[in-house]
């Protein structure tokens, strides 16, 4: 799953969907994930990159990652 091409993001974690006018904010970890999604990394690659950067348990992170992706889907930010 990729981030929709027209989604605008800022380094501060602000996300703007120009198709709907919706805007969101996320924390630095969420922003890291969005950057990786923009780079069209696969989900396993994203999980590995985040776990390695923050030195966190992969099983625990996978659950949070799934929740985060589910939120992005609900907010119509991802190309399904």
């Amino acid at each position: 799953m990729k981030l929709k091409k027209n989604i605008a993001t800022s380094l501060e974690g602000f996300i703007f969907n120009p198709s709907t006018g919706d805007s969101f904010s996320t924390n630095p970890t969420g922003m890291d994930i969005l950057v990786l999604l923009k780079e069209e990394k696969t989900h396993p690659e994203i999980i590995e990159a985040i776990c390695s950067k923050y030195e966190i348990d992969q099983i625990l992170f996978e659950r949070d990652f799934d929740d985060f992706i589910s939120q992005l889907k609900d907010y119509r930010i991802l190309d399904l």
Partner: protein, 358 residues
């Protein structure tokens, strides 16, 4: 960007006098002040603005950097002869080039007077009577069917007892609407009856009982050239809505579905002038047209801020310029309305109330 193929003047800015109504910049504002602000921002002409008001406390009357001079005009209920008489008097003094009416309720009169005004040198840029009447709230279903546009199901009723049939047909929730303004969402027959009587008392009959469509509210400001071309289309998502359902903040959005919907509307109706489509976008991606407002919306200054100055473009077209359709606008431009206590003096209030001029 718009391409001007017939320059109004080659050297100095053209001096023009534009008369504008709907100076009621209140909590549920008329579009007049926003229209004037956009026109004044256009560098192509040197404009004198004549405000046309109905009541003495319309804020625009006292905004002297917006309106150069205001004249009161008779209410639409006084008839077109009375209005024409007053406009002739104002025209003798001010030499008006163009009138931009911005109230739904007055448009019928101005459309009827269009030819007479043209004869004395006053331009307008309005839909014709058939276009104006076809998009009337009470004919929305017919309008949708005729032009292949998605609109909510409705019942037009004259008596409260007809509500029961409407409820059977459309189910709850429902929207009870007045023929000019006001809309109330109801969930029970009792609420529906109460809304019926309230709206009847204010706006008369008939009452529109409309299917409630759940979704995201999008408004589209459009300028049509009367030949089937949409010169400008600006879709806006409401970000903050007042208890009267008005946008207090909104943002320009980018969605080709809305552009295509607006183009379809203009192509099929050959609309001349400004208008606004009120659209509800459902979760499954359907765009229902809830209303077609036959004039610029109160948020029209956003069109200028986003790069398509619709009021100034209307002025140019009304004065005979050929304008090519705009193609780009800025997405993500936000307006946030605000309230401001304008201070004036009783002498000014007395002047507009007593003499009908300020």
């Amino acid at each position: 960007m718009a391409v001007q193929t017939n320059d109004m003047t080659n050297s100095a800015k053209r001096k023009i006098v534009v008369a504008v109504t709907a100076l009621n910049a209140i909590d549920s504002p008329g579009p007049g002040v926003a229209v004037i602000r956009a026109i004044r921002e256009c560098a192509d002409f040197d404009v004198r603005i004549i405000g046309l008001s109905y009541e003495s406390l319309e804020p625009g009357i006292y905004m002297h950097d917006i309106v150069d001079k205001t004249y009161q005009i008779p209410y639409p209920s006084s008839g077109t002869d009375s209005l024409m008489g007053r406009l002739l008097h104002i025209h003798e003094k001010e030499h008006i080039d163009l009138i931009i009416p911005n109230f739904d309720a007055e448009l019928f009169s101005f459309i009827k007077l269009r030819d007479k005004l043209k004869k004395i040198g006053i331009h307008t840029f309005l839909p014709d009577l058939a276009q104006f009447e076809a998009r009337d709230k009470i004919k929305l279903s017919e309008f949708g069917q005729k032009h292949g546009l998605l609109v909510p199901a409705d019942n037009i009723i004259l008596q409260v007892k007809e509500l029961e049939n409407a409820v059977d047909e459309l189910g709850f929730p429902l929207v009870i609407k007045g023929k000019f303004y006001d809309a109330v969402v109801v969930n029970t027959l009792e609420q529906a009856k109460k809304a019926f009587y309230q709206i009847q008392a204010k706006w008369g009959l008939p009452i529109i009982v409309q299917e409630f469509i759940k979704g995201t509210e999008i408004n589209i400001a459009i300028l049509g050239d009367g030949k089937g071309n949409a010169i400008s289309i600006i879709p806006m998502r409401k970000l903050y809505i007042t208890d009267k359902g008005k946008a207090w903040a909104g943002i320009t959005i980018e969605d080709n579905n809305f552009i295509e919907l607006a183009q379809q509307f203009i192509t099929t109706t050959k609309w001349r002038g400004g208008c606004e489509l009120e659209v509800m976008l459902t979760a499954d991606g359907k765009s229902y047209i809830l209303e077609v407002n036959p004039r610029f919306p109160a948020w029209i200054y956003l069109s200028a801020a986003a790069g398509q100055n619709q009021p100034a473009t209307l002025v140019k077209m009304a004065l005979g310029q050929h304008i090519e359709p705009f193609t780009d606008y800025e997405v993500g431009k936000i307006f946030v309305r605000y309230a401001w206590d304008l201070i004036t003096d009783v002498a000014e209030f007395q002047k507009i109330s007593g003499t009908g001029e300020l």
